[in-house]
Each structure stands twice: as C-alpha cells, then as structure tokens.
Symmetry: C2
Subunit: 335 residues, 2 copies
C-alpha cells in the first residue's frame, strides 16, 4: 500500500511529515511517497536511518498559502505539492493522500482532481472530536456552506460508514445538529432535512443540540459546514483557554506545583483523551479515493496517526460501500 504525503503543508513541515513517514514505513508496513521540495525533504530524511524501499520523494516546488483562493490556486499552480499529490492519487500512483496544508486547497484538489464518488453531491470534511463517550464524528466540519437537505443526508450516510469501518462502531447513531431536541425545532435547512433522515439508511436518533457534542450523545453529528466549522473551532478555542488557565493555576507557587504533582497522572490521561493528535486527521468523505486532512499544527505524532488512519481507510471497502448506500438513498428520494 502506498500513502502519498504532502511534505510541505502544515506548521511543522517538512520535519513532522518526514519524521512520521520514517516511523510509518518502519511500523505500519506501508510505502510512503513524500511530495515536496526534494532538497528540503532529503535534508530532513538524512537525519534518520530508514527503509529506502519504502520511502520515496516526488518533487513539487510550489506551495499554496492560506491567503490564496483555493480553487484558483489549485487550477493555476500545477506544481504545488498538494496538486501533484492529488494527481498521483487520481492516476493510481498511490492508494490514499494526506496533507497538513491549506484546507481549502486540499478540498479543491479532492473535488477537482481526485473527483467525487458517483452519486455524492458534495464531499464533506469529517472531523473526530473528543467527547465524554469517546471520539465522535462531526460532518461537515467546513467543506460546504449553504447546504441542502440531501447534502446533510449524504453526510450522515458517509459518516456512519466511516465510523463503522474505521472506529468499529456497530450501527452508529446519527444526530442532526439543531437548536432544540423536538422534531419541530430548527432552521429551514434542518427542518427540511429531518424527514429525509428518518427514511435514510442510518441509525437516526433525531435532533441534537450543542451540549450533546462534548457529552458524546451521537456517534455522527450531521450539519452544514458553516455550523460544523463554528462548532469545531469553538471547542478548540475553549480547550486552549481552559488548559492555559489550569496550567497557570498549577504553576503559581510551590504548594500549587506540589498539588499538581499529585493529580498529574489523572490530568495527563484526561489531556490525552481530549488530544486531537490521537485521532489522526479529518477524512474528506465522498471522493473516489481516500483524501485526509491533517491538522495544520500537527506534530510528527499527529501525522503518524493520520497515516495509520489512511491505511485503515484503504484496507476497508468504504468507497464502494459509500457508493452503494448513496445510490440506495437516491432511489428512495426519487421514488
């Protein structure tokens, strides 16, 4: 199996992707193709002893920054690492791709180059969020705004298939993010989506609210990408603020540092459970081949998790399963 890794994207590129590639080639038995500036990648690689049969470099010397309009940049910068990677994936030179770079550019590459699964109207970014009951999926976490009911139903179907295959959750529950639990609550979009979800091939449990996200009351949360992005970033921001404050309290003086010592183990376990780096990246669901977005701030540990996740994605038959279920749904809607 060959995983294509964008070696230039993210806050810690190329160090983190290269370090993770070495570890993955060693421990996961996969081949890694690092796409990026050959000199930079080789320089990083030279620090490690690694299996040369399992790591290769493909040159790409452009980078798409966060300030460019993604679709335009993807069309014009043919030699950007993410574009080269997507073209390789499309041409079956690899089995999955991973990038920690510009989210918009990766989404555009997935949509425009890798292409959609037949029947999928809009691929969606699916993020795993920590919760009191383990990792839960938020889909769409930001790829699509101004969604239609059919989009939210497809997100629910694709998210359920992912949770079953990659997280081994049997019959994952699906909640529709709304502003109240009752069926009548919601905005125009969610009210129109509710009846479709009832007849969709998913384990729909009705509307859920913001408080259900961290409580983990649905395995898959389906929502418009605008709302999903706001939720994701609100949770991230709150995590930072709370952990900064708690750190400040513990390091105030001698006694507080002593106190911290006694609760360190528990706090570390908690932090680990809440650590996005354990969960790998966010898959873009609905493309013909697996495309995974790693967090921009990913360190080598996070990139490694994302590679492991890409491997699991490829090993399952998920893409076919998505195509079959999406089409079942299309027939129902058209009945």
């Amino acid at each position: 199996m060959k995983i294509i890794v964008d070696a230039m994207g993210g806050d810690h590129a190329p160090e983190a992707p290269v370090k993770a590639a070495v570890k993955a080639a060693d421990e996961l038995g996969v081949e890694i193709i690092l796409v990026g500036k050959t000199d930079d990648v080789e320089k990083e690689l030279s620090q490690y002893s690694y299996n040369k049969d399992r790591i290769s470099i493909v040159h790409a010397d452009e980078v798409i920054t966060n300030h460019e309009e993604p679709a335009k940049a993807v069309r014009s910068k043919k030699n950007a690492s993410v574009v080269v990677a997507a073209n390789m994936l499309k041409n079956n030179e690899g089995d999955a791709m991973l990038s920690m770079g510009n989210t918009g550019a990766l989404l555009a590459s997935g949509l425009l180059i890798v292409g959609r699964i037949k029947g999928v109207m809009r691929p969606a970014l699916a993020t795993l969020l920590p919760s009191a009951k383990g990792p839960k999926m938020l889909i769409d976490a930001g790829a699509n705004t101004n969604c239609k009911p059919e989009n939210l139903v497809q997100f629910a179907i694709m998210g359920s298939i992912y949770m079953k295959n990659v997280l081994s959750i049997e019959n994952p529950t699906v909640g529709l993010m709304s502003n109240g639990e009752e069926e009548g609550k919601g905005d125009e979009l969610t009210k129109a989506t509710y009846p479709f979800l009832k007849s969709a091939p998913v384990n729909f449990i009705g509307n859920i609210e913001g408080r259900d996200v961290m409580e983990g009351n649905a395995d898959v949360i389906t929502c418009d990408g605008f709302v999903g992005n706001v939720i994701l970033k609100t949770v991230e921001g709150m995590g930072h603020v709370v952990s900064d404050k708690v750190k400040g309290i513990f390091t105030k003086g001698f006694l507080t540092k002593l106190g911290a010592l006694f609760v360190m183990k528990g706090l570390n376990e908690f932090r680990e459970a809440m650590d996005y780096r354990e969960y790998g990246g966010a898959p873009l669901l609905g493309t013909k081949k697996p495309v995974i977005k790693g967090h921009g701030s990913s360190d080598a540990k996070a990139v490694f998790s994302a590679i492991r996740q890409a491997k699991k994605f490829v090993e399952t038959n998920m893409i076919n399963e998505i195509e079959n279920n999406i089409n079942v749904m299309e027939e129902k809607v058209n009945d």
Copy 2:
C-alpha cells in the same frame, strides 16, 4: 423602580426567585413584584423577614411547560405567570421583567405583548459568555433562525449599546461569526452582512471564528440565532464535561484530594470567572421595555444577579438609544 419577577419559571421555582427577591428588595432598593401562585409564593416568603413595602405578589395560576408551542401557549394561556408579567410590563405596572421559565414563551411574550422598539425587525436574545478577556456578548443566542443581513446588523447595534451601558465597555468591538477570518469567507448570510456592518454605527472588526469566542476577541459577536444557540450550548456542554472530569481526577484518592487542596483557591477563582451565575440573565434586546431571561437552572444567586442587571438596564437610557441608532441605520440602508 419595580421589577416584575416570574416566580414560577425555572428548575428552582419558586424558592430561588423568592429568595432572590428578598435579597434584592433589601440590598438593591428596588420593589419586586412576584408573579405566580399566591399560596406557593406566600409559603416561600413566610420563611424570610422582608420589607413588606417592597415585595408584592400578583396571582397567576397557569404555567407554560417546555413541551408547548410558545406563541400558541402565550396566546391561549392568559393566566400563565409569564403572560401576566408581560401584560403588567406593557401596562407600565413595572419597569422590567425577568423569567427563568420556558425561553420560547418569554420570547413570544416579549414580542407579542411587550412589543418591539420602533424600527427593530426582530428582538434578539443576548447572552453574556465568559472568555479569557472577561464577559462577551453573543447575539442572537437563539431567538431567531433564518435571519437576514439587516437582522444581524441590528443585533450588532443593540449588543454594542448594551455592552457600553451595562458593562461600561467604551466603543465595544463587533465580530461577525463566520467560518474564516477573511472578508470573502462565510455563508450567503454572513457574506451579505459584511458590507452592511462596515457602514453600521458599530466598531466592526470583521469576521471572527469559533476559537475567538472563548479567547474573547470581540465584545459583541453577531450571528443568526441557530448558530448562536449551537455555540452557547456547545460551550455549556463542554464546561460540564470538563468540570466533571476534573472533579473526578481530584477526588480519586487521598493524594489527589491533598493535591486539590493546594490548588483549590485558584480553581475556585477560575470557576467563578467561568460561572454564568455571576453574569445575570440574557436580555431580550429590541423590546419596548426590558425583558430578561434567566437561566432555567438559576439558583437564588443567579436570580439576584439577573435582578441587579434588570435594575441597571432600567437606569440607563438604552431603549431610546437603541431606537435612535436603529433608525439612523435604517436611513443609511435606504439611502
């Protein structure tokens, strides 16, 4: 000054509203009119020695539950405590009203009975959220779904006036909740709202993202009520989960309890800063007279804060200021 308090609404009614009324009459120099079942309220009141000139009871024996359709219930249950309170406010028998009961019923009472300020298209629920930089306003936090750009602009204007008058923040900053910071980012609603906000009489700082909520990067966050409700409940839910987990860690064994002792003071200060009960209730901004929604789980301390807030609301000239600024804006839009 007379504050009308719905004595029957909320999880701790009538105990919490009655206890808070006694304290407020004593310490804030205001008159309190408790609206609810006379027998129940009198029984609660009999436990306290209180200033009988400052507390009176108005009988209302119906209650609107969370399962009723709010507007319908407000129209049909003429003797519900929230409806009686709103009618008293409308008829100038009090200066402000406060309820911890059904949010929808309070919003409907505000809209249908108290009425809108001239020029205000939709009153909005304005919640104060804790942040790393003190309390910030989220408006609309759930009163309106499917908003138009003009609504979001009015929310920003009203929120700014409130933050200036009640929280003494000079020239409060306004952020437009979106899924990216750049001007071009957003859904149809926020993209259309952006240019209007630029020319509105507010200190507009551009788009903000979910992470800015807890970091406190805008004094006023304007958004559709669906999005605001999701943010509010996500933050609340995360607060519960994190504090439960931390409590669990500290109470695990002898050493962890000892450790907790050393950091207790700091943790309590932090908890207090994050405690919604300190902030009072959520004002419904845009009605002709002050209407305040207290949290359903409010204890006496929270109800007291909300009464203090109602007093401050009345003392300012905010309603006039809102009317003047909304109309200035109307002229601009119509230019």
